[in-house]
Amino acid sequence: MSTIVNSGWRIGLIITISMALAVTGAFLLRKPVLHIDVPGARILSPPVRVSPFSLLDQRGQLFSNERLAGNWTLATVGFTYCPDICPTTLSEMSAVFKKMETVSGAFKMPRFVFFSVDPFRDTPEVLEKYLAYFRRDFIGVTGAPAAIQSLANELGLHYVYSDPEDGQLVDGVLQKPAIEDYAVIHSTSVVFITPTGEMVATMAPPFKTDEVVSVFEKLRTHYGN
């Protein structure tokens, strides 16, 4: 009689301990919640997988999804005729990359990609000279208007052409606007894409060096290098 009571008590104890261990284990192994407390930075949940695309880099080489593999990518859209916002963003990002080189340690440096949303004027040759001015390893990408449009849409980076005289918007982005010296209204965010080709976060300007570096460090720690 006493043995039965004893073994029942023992089984209860074993079950309790196992459950406690399972709960503790699950707690210890759980994926920590990613929290970024920087104004203008947003985490995309779920991430956006970048669909296959085919564009050209500033050397006229194919720039497709494979070129996003292996390293993190920070990217934005713009155009070289832009006198104010684009050079500001590119200068800020070159400061960010300079800082990253000093803190990257054992990690791989990300790459920076400037997607032109003005392919009618931004040829690979134009982009090559323009980007090298900010940083030798910055990548400039241009290509067929339809391919640029679909990639930009997917990244949530929008653009439209306008008449700088009166601000009137031009319909469609697949043809060169008839207006001379047309302006491009465009998104100013930088997007973060993992080495496996998933866009996981966006950040709005101004791009303060320490803030961008800290956002990137958190993303890299969370999603891996």
């Binding site: 070289t80 005729y81 006198p83 104010d84 916002i85 050079p87 500001t88 590119l90 200068s91 134009v126 982009l127 000279k129 323009y130 090298a132 001015y133 900010f134 929008h158 653009y159 306008s162 700088p164 005289e165 009166d166 601000g167 010296d181 302006a183 209204i185 465009h186 998104s187 100013t188 965010s189 709005a204 300007p205 101004p206």
Partner: protein, 143 residues
């Protein structure tokens, strides 16, 4: 005698004339021009314009021997997108100042006539609606 009187008048009032032409209602501080990246067709000039008078003054136009065309623009953000709005003038209220800075008001410098590099000076002439015309030497730099 007339000559002496004339000389005296110049000595007395001359400094006043010089002072009044220098100390206008408008002062411009920290003017700079962004060094244009190679291939860029336009760049921008930035500065702070202060109006010490008791009435609103407007910047009507700007000119420079270094550029064929200068326009006043303002970058405005709507839904995360940067819009460039051409301005017919930049108003500076009485006793206030307006900053021309990246992502905001700026002079858009187009049709460059020479290549300006970091460290160069760019002469700009600013014309205001109160009749003041101010010559500004803007330093060329990267950011």
């Amino acid at each position: 005698m007339k000559r002496i009187l004339g000389l005296l008048a110049i000595m007395l009032f001359g400094p006043l004339l010089v002072t009044s032409s220098l100390a206008g209602d408008i002062t411009v501080t920290d003017p700079w021009v962004r060094e244009a990246p190679p291939g860029a067709k336009a760049t921008a000039a930035y500065m702070t314009i202060s109006n010490t008078s008791s009435r609103t003054v407007q910047l009507d136009s700007a000119a420079s021997a270094d550029f064929g065309m200068i326009e006043m623009h303002r970058t405005e953000m709507h839904d995360g997108m940067a819009h460039m709005k051409k301005q017919t003038g930049i108003r500076i209220e009485a006793g206030k100042n307006v900053q021309l800075k990246p992502g905001d008001f700026h002079l858009m410098l187009m049709q460059p006539r020479r290549s300006l590099k970091t460290g160069d000076q760019c002469a700009l002439q600013l014309l205001f609606d109160n009749g003041e015309s101010i010559a500004v030497q803007a330093l060329v730099r990267k950011q």
